[in-house]
Every structure is written in C-alpha cells, then in structure tokens.
C-alpha cells in the first residue's frame, strides 16, 4: 500500500482510468449542442482525482459515459488498461442521493451491490456484515434505510461503492445534499477510510475546499462545452490533516481555482 502512495505521487503507477479526447453533444431544439469538447484525463492506481467546474459543465454526462450508460461521440475510455468505451460494469458508483433500496435492509443494500459485481451471495453478506461492524453501523445493519440519518445513509452508500471490486470508484457530488457540519464530518470520515484503502477515485464536487482537502489532483473544467482548463497537483502530504485548510498554500490554491472558475463563468 505504501508503494502506491509513493508511485502515485511520482506519477508512474498504473493508469486505472484514462479518457482521451472525449466529445459529446446533445440535440436540443433540433440543433446539436456540444457538452464535452475533447476531455482528456486520467486516474492512476490509488489516486484521488477530483473534477471541479461550474454547474452545467457536463460532469454528470462525463460520469454517464464512464459508466457506459451512454457512448461518447468521439474519443476513447480505457478502464484497467482495456478499451471499455460504451461498456457497463467497470466502475462502482456513489450518487448524490444515497439511492439505497427502501425495501432492503442496510446490510442487504450493501450485499446486493456486491453480488452485481460478481461476488457469491454468502461472500457478499459476510463482507457487508464485517464492514458495517468496522464503520460502526453494525447495530443498524438489519434496519431499513429510512431509519438512518442522511449522513449515515451516505456512509452506507460509500461503503457499497468501496467494497465493489471494480477498477475505479466514481463519486458524483456525494455530500452536496448534506448540511455543513455533517458534510465536514463526512469528509473527514471518507478521508480516513480512503487513506486506509487507497482505491482509485474520480470525484465530482462544486466545493473548492472539498476538492483541495480530499484530492491528489484536480481537473478544473470550463463551462459548457467543457474542456480541461487546468490540472492542479495538490501538494499536501498524506495522511492529510483535517486542518489542512489553514495552510497558506491551501488558501493560494483556493484563490487560483476560484479565479479560473470566475473567468470561465464570466465569458
């Protein structure tokens, strides 16, 4: 595991997700509207990469392409070193809404996602139980999701994505619907869990602080049609401190990203 850290920092670890020249347009009012204009980016093994951009910059569209729900008009998507353009079933996913199935217990929600990823039913149930215990949710494992608070539902949703044996985890604004305090708690929790597990993550957020706190690298996207405006390496060491936002470099980077987003929104 410690190898991964140094390798990802050095930039030579295996590339888990690679997008090359992704283009996508939709027809609206009988005219094609370009949404993604030649997006190229990558996520290395054990790397936490964040996409940040103005709302409506096509981040969700990009996720649907990576998930294989839609096909890009141009470009290729490689996951785990293989061309998977338009193929489903190569990523695990955590959406903005927890999206737990109301008729399944918390444990069954986790386990059923694992069986979709190819695990046997018994193995999936055992893994779900073991990990719910580990993150302190053992006593609600048998409950229906509605008894859980929003933050707890998102923990279950994250666990479900973490345990799926897939090359890349895609997290689509997972904390956007939470209040500020719960959100800060969830960021610290996710950071701790992720730094233990070191999965390859592609994360979408609107929050610059969130991006700087969690990520190894950040891609700043322009407004639609989206292009990569800048790639930013986040210089803070791992394991990352919860009060990293107090560092002068943090403030400088935050201003830099804010300025980029302002300039693209103003045009």
């Amino acid at each position: 595991m410690s190898d991964c850290i140094s390798l990802s920092a050095g930039g030579s670890a295996q590339v888990k997700l690679e997008l090359t020249g992704i283009g996508k347009s939709y027809v609206r009012d009988k005219r094609p509207h370009l949404v993604l204009d030649g997006i190229s980016l990558h996520v290395r093994e054990g790397e936490f990469v964040t996409l940040i951009g103005p709302s409506g910059s096509g981040k969700s569209t990009l996720f649907r392409l990576i998930g294989g729900v839609e096909r890009p008009d141009a470009g290729t998507i490689r996951i785990g070193g293989r061309d998977t353009t338009g193929e489903r079933g190569h990523i695990s996913y955590m959406p903005q809404q927890a999206s737990l199935f109301p008729w399944l217990s918390v444990a069954a929600n986790v386990a059923s996602a694992l069986t979709t990823a190819g695990l046997g039913a018994q193995e999936a149930a055992a893994l779900a139980a073991q990990w719910l215990e580990r993150i302190g949710l053992a006593d609600v494992a048998g409950e229906y999701p509605h008894v859980l608070s929003g933050g707890m539902q998102q923990r279950v949703s994250f666990l479900r994505a973490l345990l799926m044996p897939r090359d890349v985890m895609c997290l689509d604004e997972p904390f956007a619907a939470l209040d500020a305090l719960t959100r800060a708690d969830m960021q610290a929790w996710l950071l701790r869990l992720w730094e233990e597990q070191r999965r390859s993550v592609l994360f979408v957020t609107h929050s610059i602080e969130e991006a700087l706190t969690l990520s190894d690298r950040i891609y700043v996207l322009s407004r639609a049609p989206a292009r990569v405006l800048r790639e930013i390496k986040v210089p803070f060491e791992r394991p990352r401190r919860a009060d990293v936002w107090k560092e002068p470099a943090f403030v400088r980077l935050k201003e830099e990203v804010l300025e980029l987003l302002r300039s693209t929104a103003a045009r």
Partner: protein, 262 residues
C-alpha cells in the same frame, strides 16, 4: 394520536352502520312495513340462523370458486404485466383487445360462455379470471414503470443486467401497485362469482339467491346479500392484511427521501 385514529377508522363507521340498522329496524317495526317488501334486520338474522347450515355450505362453495378465480387471476395478471413491461410492442398490440374484454357486460358474456363450454367449472372460471386479472395487470404494469429514476440510474451506472433491474428494483417497486390491484380484484371477484353462479350453477350463494328471489322469499334474498357482503369484506380485509405483511418498508418511503437533511 393512535386513539383518535382508532376512533376515526373503526368506531365512527361502525357506529354509523349500527345506527342505520337501528333506524331500519324501527321503520319496519313501527312503520308497519310488510316483511315481504322489506324484512326487519331481526327477521333477516332469524332467517339466517334457521337456514345456517345450508347458507354455510353455499358460502363455502362460493368461497372456493372465488379463490380459484382470484388465484388464476393473480397468476395471469402478473404474467401479463411482466409480458407487457418486458417486451416492447406487446402492450400497444394487445391493449385494445384487453380493454374490449373489460367492456363486455358480464351478463352478456356469461350465457355465451355457457353455450361454448357447458355448465361445468370452466365457463365460470373463465368469467372470473377475465374480471380478476385486469386490475392486477393494469396496476402492476404502471407500478413496474414508475420505479424511482435515481435508483434506476444507480443500477445502470454499476452495470446491473436487465434481469437485476427487474428483480431488485421494478418488482419490489411495483408491490404497492400490485396490492392496489389485488384489493380491487378481491372486491370485483365476489360480484363476478355471484353472476357466474346466477347464470348456471346448482350450488353457491349466487344460486341460493336465484332460488330465494324466484320464490319471493325476501328474508332469504337479504340473507344471501348479507353473506355476499361479508365475503366481499373478508376478501378485501385479507388482501389489505397481506399488503401490510408484504410491504413493511412503506412507512419510511417519505422519510427515506426527506431524511437527507437530518
């Protein structure tokens, strides 16, 4: 809160019903209404008591026939809903035909079925199934299509198969609609089974009704009606009970969506 609900849900309707029966009784006794026109509730109860063993055997026959019809109706209704849902084009092609079958009056269809299939069990079952399958198929079909979009999107993103989407999402999501259909079916099935027995049977509460009606035995007719109403309530109650046993997550559905701010 709970006691208020119990008052509203049970004691108010029960009290209104009791009052109705009391007024009926008083009108018959004090108003001097001829018992051949409208028998008093007490006279009906007396008649039911006297004829109880015969009524029981007739009700039992009707109950079994209705259960056979509902059982087949459920199987065919669910199968039809799945077929319509899973195979595009089938719905568009067959909907008009199915709606036509629902618009033919039972009174017209019954004699035809007897001409075609005789006086046995088969024509009665066909009539029953035609009535029973429709509410289930139609409600469930809408339920299958109304599964929550964000859950559908989640399953698509993790690469779930069509079969998994059906099994994990669409079928559980359609259960509330299925039970809405089942409760309708439970009520309609009693009407249908009475018509079926009326048209051609030598047994059942529908047959009993015909006999009493032709003999101008008004207390007998009301006894049959009381049994039919009791059967309909029993079936509806059974369907509602099954629903509560099967759908235990429903109280939290709203909370599951609203709980994100907690």
């Amino acid at each position: 809160m709970a006691s208020r609900t119990l008052l509203q849900r049970f004691w108010l309707p029960a009290g209104a019903l009791a009052l109705l029966v009391l007024v009926w009784q008083l009108i018959c006794k004090l108003g001097g209404v001829d018992p051949w026109i409208l028998p008093a509730p007490s006279a009906i109860a007396h008649n039911m008591w006297d004829d109880s063993s015969r009524l029981w055997s007739q009700v039992w026959f009707t109950l079994r026939l209705a259960l056979k019809g509902i059982g087949l109706g459920i199987v065919i209704g669910v199968a039809a809903a799945l077929l319509f849902h899973l195979i595009p084009g089938v719905r568009a092609a067959l909907s008009p035909i199915i709606i036509i079958t629902q618009n033919i009056p039972l009174i017209a269809l019954g004699p035809l079925l007897i001409v075609w299939f005789g006086f046995g069990l088969l024509p009665k079952l066909i009539l029953l199934v035609l009535v029973c399958f429709f509410p289930i198929a139609w409600s469930m079909l809408s339920g299958l299509g109304q599964a929550e979009p964000h859950l559908r999107e989640y399953l698509a993103m993790i690469g779930a198969s069509r079969w998994e989407v059906l099994w994990r999402l669409e079928l559980p999501a359609s259960l509330p609609s299925f039970f809405t259909g089942l409760k309708l079916t439970a009520t309609y099935s009693i009407t249908a089974v009475i018509v079926a027995e009326w048209l051609g049977s030598s047994e059942g509460i529908g047959h009993y009704l015909v006999l009493k009606s032709k003999g101008y035995d008004t207390p007998g007719v009301f006894s049959a009606i009381a049994c039919i109403v009791a059967l309909a309530l029993l079936f509806y109650g059974a369907a509602a009970l099954l629903e509560r046993l099967a759908i235990r997550w429903r109280p939290g559905r709203q909370a599951a969506q609203g709980g994100r701010s907690a």
